[in-house]
C-alpha cells in the first residue's frame, strides 16, 4: 500500500474538521477527494502533506508512519491552488530549488529540470519569471517542480480551479497523461465532480468531515452509497415510494427492491433512466404533463409534472423530443433506481 490513512481525525475550534478517515491507496493510483467546500477534503490532504497536525490517527507512506515528520521530511509533494511559485526566481531556479537542497550536482539538476519541463510541455521557459507566465503555465511549472522530486505521493489541492474551463479541461488530460507516463501515485482534491469523474481511478466522496463513499467513478455514479452521494454526483430525481417485499412501489410503478428495504423509501432516479411515452393508458407508467423542453446540444432535458410526485427531469434524445410539446400528456416509466430508507433522508 502506497498511502494509508488510519482513523484520521482533526477538529478545529469552530467545530469543523474531519473524523474517522480511513483511506488506502495503491501504488500508481489517482484518487480524488471530492466534496463541497468545507467538507474537510483539504484538511485530509494537508494532513498527508504535513501542513496540519491531526488530533489523532496515523498516516503511512510505503508502510512507514510519517505522522511525526515535518513537510520537508515527508516523501510527498504538493501542488497548491495558487501562489505556488516564488516570484523572485526564474522558472529554472524554481525547479532547481528542491534539488539544490538535496545537494544534487549541477549537471543532474539541469537534466532533471529539462526533463520535467518537457513533461509539462514548457521546454525553453527556463529563463522566464513567474510573472511572465499565464495561470495555466504557472500551474504546470508547479507540477513540474513536484514531478522532478519524484515523490512517493503527489498531492494536488484544487490545482486547476483558478483556470478557465477550457484550460482546465486541457490540464486534466495532461495530468492524466503525465500520470500514465510516470506511474506516480496522486491524491487530487476537487469540488468539481466532472473533474473527479473524468480523472480518477477512484473517488472518495466526502461530506461534513466524513467519507460518504469510496469507489470507482462509474460505481459512484451508478450505485451511490448514500442519499448525499446520490444528490451530489450528477443530476438526480428523488421520489418517495414504499417498499413492498421484493418490490418498491412508486405509484403504479414497481421496481426491484435490491437492498431489501422496508417501509418508506426515497428513490433516486437518474434523468437518463426516465422513459417518456406518448400514450398514457399503458399499465406500469405514471402520468404527467410536459412542462418544459430544454435542448442541451446532442440531447434534451424534459421537465414533466407528475400528478403524484411533482416534477421529474428526463434526458431524452433529439428524436423523441421533436414529438413532445409543453402541456402534452405523457406516460413516464423508470428503468432503474437506487432506493434509500427515508429516515436517512431526515438525518441528512
Amino acid at each position: 500500500m502506497q498511502l494509508s490513512v488510519r482513523e484520521l481525525s482533526k477538529r478545529y475550534k469552530t467545530g469543523d474538521g474531519v473524523s474517522g478517515i480511513n483511506i488506502d491507496i495503491q501504488k500508481g493510483e489517482l484518487v480524488t477527494l471530492l466534496g463541497p467546500s468545507g467538507c474537510g477534503k483539504t484538511t485530509v490532504l494537508r494532513s498527508i502533506g504535513g501542513f496540519l497536525e491531526p488530533d489523532s490517527g496515523d498516516i503511512l507512506i510505503e508502510g512507514r508512519s510519517v505522522i511525526q515528520l515535518p513537510p520537508e521530511k515527508r516523501p510527498t509533494s504538493m501542488v497548491f491552488q495558487s501562489y505556488n511559485l516564488w516570484s523572485h526566481m526564474s522558472v529554472y531556479e524554481n525547479l532547481a530549488f528542491g534539488l539544490k537542497i538535496r545537494k544534487k550536482s549541477k549537471a543532474e539538476i539541469r537534466a532533471s529540470v529539462d526533463e520535467a519541463l518537457k513533461l509539462v510541455r514548457l521546454s525553453g521557459f527556463e529563463k522566464k519569471v513567474p510573472a511572465e507566465l499565464s495561470g495555466g503555465q504557472q500551474q504546470r511549472v508547479a507540477l513540474a517542480r513536484s514531478l522532478l522530486l519524484n515523490p512517493a505521493v503527489l498531492l494536488l489541492d484544487e490545482p486547476f480551479s483558478a483556470l478557465d474551463a477550457k484550460l482546465r479541461h486541457e490540464m486534466r488530460e495532461e495530468l492524466r497523461e503525465i500520470q500514465m507516463k510516470t506511474g506516480l501515485t496522486m491524491v487530487f482534491v476537487t469540488h468539481d465532480q466532472e473533474e473527479a469523474l473524468s480523472l480518477s481511478d477512484r473517488i472518495i466522496v466526502m461530506n461534513h468531515g466524513r467519507i460518504e463513499q469510496i469507489a470507482q467513478p462509474q460505481q459512484i455514479y451508478d450505485e451511490p452509497a448514500s442519499l448525499y452521494v446520490a444528490g451530489f454526483i450528477g443530476k438526480m430525481n428523488f421520489m418517495e415510494g414504499v417498499a413492498d417485499g421484493a418490490k418498491i412501489r412508486l405509484g403504479s410503478l414497481a421496481l426491484p427492491n435490491v437492498k431489501n428495504l422496508r417501509g418508506r423509501v426515497t428513490a433516486a432516479v437518474r434523468p437518463e433512466d426516465v422513459q417518456l411515452r406518448e400514450r398514457t393508458d399503458t399499465e406500469g407508467t405514471l402520468t404527467g404533463k410536459v412542462k418544459q423542453v430544454m435542448i442541451l446540444g446532442h440531447y434534451a432535458e424534459v421537465t414533466v409534472e407528475l400528478a403524484e410526485f411533482g416534477i421529474i427531469r428526463a434526458f431524452q434524445s433529439k428524436e423523441v423530443v421533436q414529438r413532445l410539446q409543453p402541456g402534452q400528456e405523457v406516460g413516464v416509466s423508470i428503468t432503474q433506481m437506487t432506493g434509500f430508507p427515508v429516515d436517512e433522508a431526515k438525518a441528512n
Partner: protein, 274 residues
C-alpha cells in the same frame, strides 16, 4: 507663432501653463540654491551672479566641524538603520505571520510616537535619558533617531511579509527546505523591496533629524542638520546653499538608486490595517 497656438488648442495651452507654474514652483528654489552655491558675488539687480566659483565649497569643506559632522551623520544613520532592521524586521515578521492577542493594538502603538508633538516626546525622553546617563552619548542619539522610524520600519516590512503568500512558503517546505531556509531563501528575498524602501527612509530620516539630536546630543554630537543651523545663522547664504546641497545629495542618490523599488504600492500597502 500664432498659428501654432491656434493649432494646439486652448486646453493644451492651459495644461502647458499649469505645468510651467508647477515646474517653477518645484525647481525654482532648487535652481536658485544651485546658483547660489556656485556664486562668489551676486548683487540684487542682477539675474545671475557676477562672479562664479568654488569659494564657498572650499570654505565649507575646509571647516573641520563640518566635515566631521558629515561623517558623524553618516555613522549615526548607518547605526540607526542597522539597529532598526535588527529590531523591527523580526517584529514585522511576527505581525505578518503569527497570531497573538492584541496584535492590532501593538501594531497601532507604533503610530503613537508619530501622534504626539515631537518636542514634547523628546523632552520626556530627555528626562529619562538624564536619569540613566544617556544624555550626550552616541547611543542616546541613535535611540532618539530610532523612535522616529519605528513606524516605517515595522509597518512597511509587515505589509511586505504579508504579501508573501503562505502557499509560497509552504511549497518551499514541501520541496525540502527547513523553516529557516524558507525564511532566508523565500520569504526574506520576496519581502526585500519593502524592507529596502523602509531602510532607505530610515537612513534619510536619520540624516535629516535635528530636534531630537539637538536635545540629546549637544554639545558633543553635532550632526549635519545641527551644524546647518549655525552655518545659516553665522555665514553668508552661499555657505548655507553649499551645505544644503551636501545634505540633499545622499537623499537624491539613494532615491534614484531605489527608484525601481519605491512605488506607491509598497508605501500604501504599509499603511493598511489588516
Amino acid at each position: 507663432m500664432l498659428w501654432y497656438w491656434k493649432h494646439v488648442g486652448r486646453r493644451r495651452i492651459i495644461e502647458f501653463a499649469l505645468l510651467t507654474v508647477f515646474a517653477i514652483f518645484f525647481a525654482g528654489p532648487l535652481v536658485n540654491l544651485l546658483v547660489l552655491a556656485f556664486s562668489e558675488k551676486w548683487n540684487y539687480p542682477n539675474v545671475l551672479p557676477q562672479q562664479w566659483g568654488f569659494k564657498w565649497w572650499t570654505f565649507v569643506l575646509a571647516k573641520d566641524d563640518i566635515v566631521s559632522s558629515i561623517s558623524l551623520s553618516f555613522l549615526i544613520a548607518t547605526l540607526v538603520t542597522v539597529l532598526s532592521i535588527v529590531v523591527c524586521i523580526p517584529a514585522a515578521y511576527a505581525f505578518a505571520r503569527l497570531q497573538f492577542p492584541l496584535k492590532r493594538m501593538f501594531l497601532f502603538s507604533f503610530l503613537l510616537t508619530n501622534a504626539f508633538p515631537k518636542m514634547g516626546l523628546y523632552v520626556s525622553i530627555a528626562v529619562l535619558f538624564y536619569k540613566i546617563g544617556l544624555m550626550n552619548t552616541l547611543l542616546g542619539v541613535v535611540l532618539i533617531h530610532m523612535i522616529n522610524v519605528l513606524m516605517f520600519m515595522t509597518w512597511i516590512p509587515t505589509a511586505a511579509f504579508r504579501n508573501v503568500h503562505r502557499a509560497q512558503e509552504e511549497s518551499a517546505r514541501d520541496v525540502g527546505a527547513s523553516p529557516f531556509k524558507v525564511f532566508r531563501s523565500i520569504t526574506l528575498p520576496m519581502a526585500m523591496p519593502g524592507i529596502v524602501v523602509a531602510s532607505i527612509f530610515t537612513f534619510l530620516n536619520s540624516l535629516d533629524e535635528a530636534q531630537g539630536t539637538f536635545l540629546v546630543g549637544i554639545p558633543d554630537y553635532k550632526t549635519m542638520p545641527i551644524v546647518m543651523y549655525s552655518i545659516i545663522s553665522d555665514f553668508p547664504s552661499s555657505a548655507g546653499a553649499v551645505f544644503s546641497i551636501i545634505l540633499t545629495l545622499p537623499t537624491i542618490i539613494l532615491l534614484v538608486a531605489a527608484q525601481r523599488l519605491v512605488s506607491a504600492d509598497v508605501l500604501a500597502s504599509g499603511f493598511q490595517m489588516k
